[in-house]
Symmetry: D2
Subunit: 345 residues, 4 copies
Amino acid sequence: MGLISFDHTRPLDVVFLGRIAIDFNPAYSELVQEEFKPLKDVHYFEKFVGGSPANMAVGVTRHGLRAGFIGKVSDDQFGDFVIEYFEREGIDTSEVTRSIGGENLGLTFTEMRSSTESSLLMYRNGIADLQLSVDDVHETYIAQAKLLVISGTALAESPSREAVLKAALLARKTNTPLLFDIDYRAYTWKHTDDIAIYYAALARQADIIMGSREEFDLAEALICSGMTDEESACYWHKHHARIVLIKHGMKGSSAFLSSGDSYSIQAFPVKARKGFGGGDGYGAGFIYGLFQDWSIARCLEFGSAEASMMVRANNCSDALPNLEAVEEFITEAKVHGNRSAERVS
Amino acid sequence: MGLISFDHTRPLDVVFLGRIAIDFNPAYSELVQEEFKPLKDVHYFEKFVGGSPANMAVGVTRHGLRAGFIGKVSDDQFGDFVIEYFEREGIDTSEVTRSIGGENLGLTFTEMRSSTESSLLMYRNGIADLQLSVDDVHETYIAQAKLLVISGTALAESPSREAVLKAALLARKTNTPLLFDIDYRAYTWKHTDDIAIYYAALARQADIIMGSREEFDLAEALICSGMTDEESACYWHKHHARIVLIKHGMKGSSAFLSSGDSYSIQAFPVKARKGFGGGDGYGAGFIYGLFQDWSIARCLEFGSAEASMMVRANNCSDALPNLEAVEEFITEAKVHGNRSAERVS
Amino acid sequence: MGLISFDHTRPLDVVFLGRIAIDFNPAYSELVQEEFKPLKDVHYFEKFVGGSPANMAVGVTRHGLRAGFIGKVSDDQFGDFVIEYFEREGIDTSEVTRSIGGENLGLTFTEMRSSTESSLLMYRNGIADLQLSVDDVHETYIAQAKLLVISGTALAESPSREAVLKAALLARKTNTPLLFDIDYRAYTWKHTDDIAIYYAALARQADIIMGSREEFDLAEALICSGMTDEESACYWHKHHARIVLIKHGMKGSSAFLSSGDSYSIQAFPVKARKGFGGGDGYGAGFIYGLFQDWSIARCLEFGSAEASMMVRANNCSDALPNLEAVEEFITEAKVHGNRSAERVS
Amino acid sequence: MGLISFDHTRPLDVVFLGRIAIDFNPAYSELVQEEFKPLKDVHYFEKFVGGSPANMAVGVTRHGLRAGFIGKVSDDQFGDFVIEYFEREGIDTSEVTRSIGGENLGLTFTEMRSSTESSLLMYRNGIADLQLSVDDVHETYIAQAKLLVISGTALAESPSREAVLKAALLARKTNTPLLFDIDYRAYTWKHTDDIAIYYAALARQADIIMGSREEFDLAEALICSGMTDEESACYWHKHHARIVLIKHGMKGSSAFLSSGDSYSIQAFPVKARKGFGGGDGYGAGFIYGLFQDWSIARCLEFGSAEASMMVRANNCSDALPNLEAVEEFITEAKVHGNRSAERVS
């Protein structure tokens, strides 16, 4: 569609920068089922690759895109696990390095209390992914990517923070479009103002900004509080953004284009197993659509469908669907009356 | 026996100081069995309370002693889990506090590759137990204990290191016998010399020192390298120690008394599920024996039996046996020909 | 001239953000003269208020502007010294706070080896000014200033780094023009890329950027290496800058305007006592000129004259001249043939 | 006297371990006099080598002993200054290393408000001497010393703290007598309990302990509060100490021997220029006496005289007297009626 133009001579479709972690989810399989309950009372856990950018990398790969990753993992068997998983999925791991200071891989223990209550207990102190440094970010690698996707959690601490800001400068230098997935996690930020400062710094340089309404509020706290979606979009379009994607959970989401057009879609209703994971599916689906040169409306629909498929699943990586599964889900949902995206203005 | 005299007017038998953590072990239950394999390939895990002093506290409590604990746990559901577990077991948790800087509970993922190969992947960066500080160590509480047991892992970092050294000073001030369980873990120590320095500092003040030959070597590295068990015992007896317990894994263990007597026992042979957990059973059993005023030989036998029971189990806390189970194990083992402890000199 | 429009309803002319420190200079007074020699061999020192933004605040105040300061100083007698000095000079210190973690005031020991060789030995570890935090930066105060001047050394470390970035966001929010004085000091930066990242982040938001050619090279290292002055100016004009001031030491300096005009001036030749301090005089003079609505050529001349006056002095704060002294210096210099600034394009 | 027996085959008389720093004192020379005034108002400073163990090393060297030093200084001209000073004095600097992390040399600015009021403003954050590490402490060097003197300020922080504790272990291993000069400075200690813990740990291993009553109170805070001098001496004699030296400022000082004898001496009255520096002279004089095999009474007298000479001087290193000057001072004082040390018990 021309909003974002990809350089098709580059070997990698999408390079992700951010965390790779492990999710420990209450076991829920044929062998053993931990029903909804407080996390402290769960005895059996299943281990999955996790971390939003890692999941998105898996997601787009399952749709057929060629993904790479800039990240840092632990120098132990958990690091082996995630790298081997990526390699089995077909993700390029040539820029995934190992931490050298004994930092562990980040962990997320997920609590599933009911279909509407879930929470995360995260291990994020002294963690490998936040040790990513400017020395790990190479212009040559970014120049091989048609699109660079950065997760905002990587801004939470130095030296990872500077690695992100360097990557953004190199994206501009190499004419690589930048998608900023705000991906807020409360954990390692030291001060609310820091969030506002660094989200704004990165958002000003992004071609595509993706986040929930709450995440945009965080990014805009030192600019102008209480902006509407339209005002947010207008503000970021004045900087560098061409697509501003604002999500409202089960109420749907909207895409605002620098052309002035905007599109909204309602969420596909499903029975949720957990309150997270949807964003990963959304991102994977939307990005895939962009690469197919689909209309923004169709991109939204595809991402939105994949999001709903993920919240009903017990995990965030293994459960990511392939192309056919998403299309089947959409077809079925439409039969049952779900409306597709529509142009708002 | 008079070697260590307990003040029977005190309400608590044993107060432990050190880490409480969580063990995630490859699931091995009726529902799901992860057979011997590399940790990275394990999918199902079971969650157990862990940490050597925590396990010992559970162990002695199951034998009928009244235990308390000086420790720090995370201010989250994992912290809730371990405190609730302690309380269900009957351990006094009035001096178990919560970390206030977002520190997580320490984690240990156990690898069981074969009956002779196992390893640990530990989460020890930014961990609650190492945040125990001098402000958490109270003279009044130590004065309520007949015996103070300190795990050497608590010496690995400040502020926990100073909490330990303060507790040792207060033990002396309140005439509370001190058992130092060296309990070496490679993880958080910065320098080999630091290990030697702090182990020696604590060992000089202990009434009972317990550790493997390798652990004694670490403690003696800046004093005199390559001491035999007899030389080690002689050295520490000149300071404050009355019992020096040196373990040689499956080859058995020896107790050296300041009276000059010494006793050795061979291990009770079992088929191991894992290479750790034995020390916790050993300590719990030996301490229980001391409180029964048993002969050192019988203490050794009881501890040694409990050690063997633990290495064949899939976990280190739930599997700790009660009194009857240990006695039954010993009886059965003797039928099959295991020798009991014997006086060496 | 309209390039930078000041809001004349605001009570403060210039608010500076950055370090206040102490300079210890080899004594050179009527009482005692330390002639040119290595720093290690100097016995007598004189104590002066120092730090580039502190000196500039003194400088503009001596010309009659109303200055304020956002900074943090030590909670000891050295902190008292600098605050009392500011107050005697007439600088508003209502937003100068005290460090609460025992951080000392930064120190600079100056070496004067010859008229062409000088160096600095800085105390910058655990220093008060770098403890300035986002909590110390208030929108209401910035909104009272006609101009905000930020020294780039405040970007070297957190939390001061975030205080700067917040101030820049608030400057934009309150329509306060921002002058970024790059003011590079090698000391506390961790990585060359960090310099490039944060200088670029701030420069993109500045209305006026001031620095040496080497400082612009640092700011542009991840954008495009080896730019000429004209290319640099062009790049930053595309962002937000309206005046780009590039200094070449004794070779003079140039101002590039977003209008396309540019001006250059040669330095006023003097016999130097030291190789630093010139920048402070330059900044104070140039800013003063802007407030007088002088032509850029005259601003350059005034700043350039004040710069030369400073390098021949033994210190950087006490020696800052008043208006008449600068004008007298210029008049005298012109008699002796120094050329004034000229329009280049 | 046999209390402390020195191995006369060793090449170095005394090795000191601790800080080398710089004192900046208000200038008070023929050229320029800063009279008593608040530090903030002092303009001229004189630079001197400082730090208690450094001064003692200078002091004993001026009496003719052969001294060495284990320490770490900055890798800059201030580091050069102190090393060159030591070398000119004849102190062995082969184990004085340079900091590698940009740490500066510690600084002490001295305030002299009146003959009875003085204070110190110290730069102790990120300082070279506290970077001394276990890797800098070598058994071979300690084995060359007849006496090891450790300043307690080196216990204030890691890694210097561990360097001290290692040195104490190696002193024992090599049969080198250890003098512990408590030398308390409020600055870098994190918690009062830490002071008690580490002072006690080192005092337990020392042959000679030297400190003020307040310093002994700090060391004994977790052992037994409020001990008298006699009780303190008795306590430490039970550990390893043979000489316990307790100072009471201008009221004099006492030496308690493990033999049961004790000696007291009143201070030599002088008009003070400053409230510090006396301890350095005291230590240098007392140590010198020990090496002459003088009676303890005479050692006390010599140390006490040198202490008084130092408090009336404007600095703590340059002013250290030679042998003849101390003897002359004593002779003169006796003429004027000062009593010499007397045996108390």
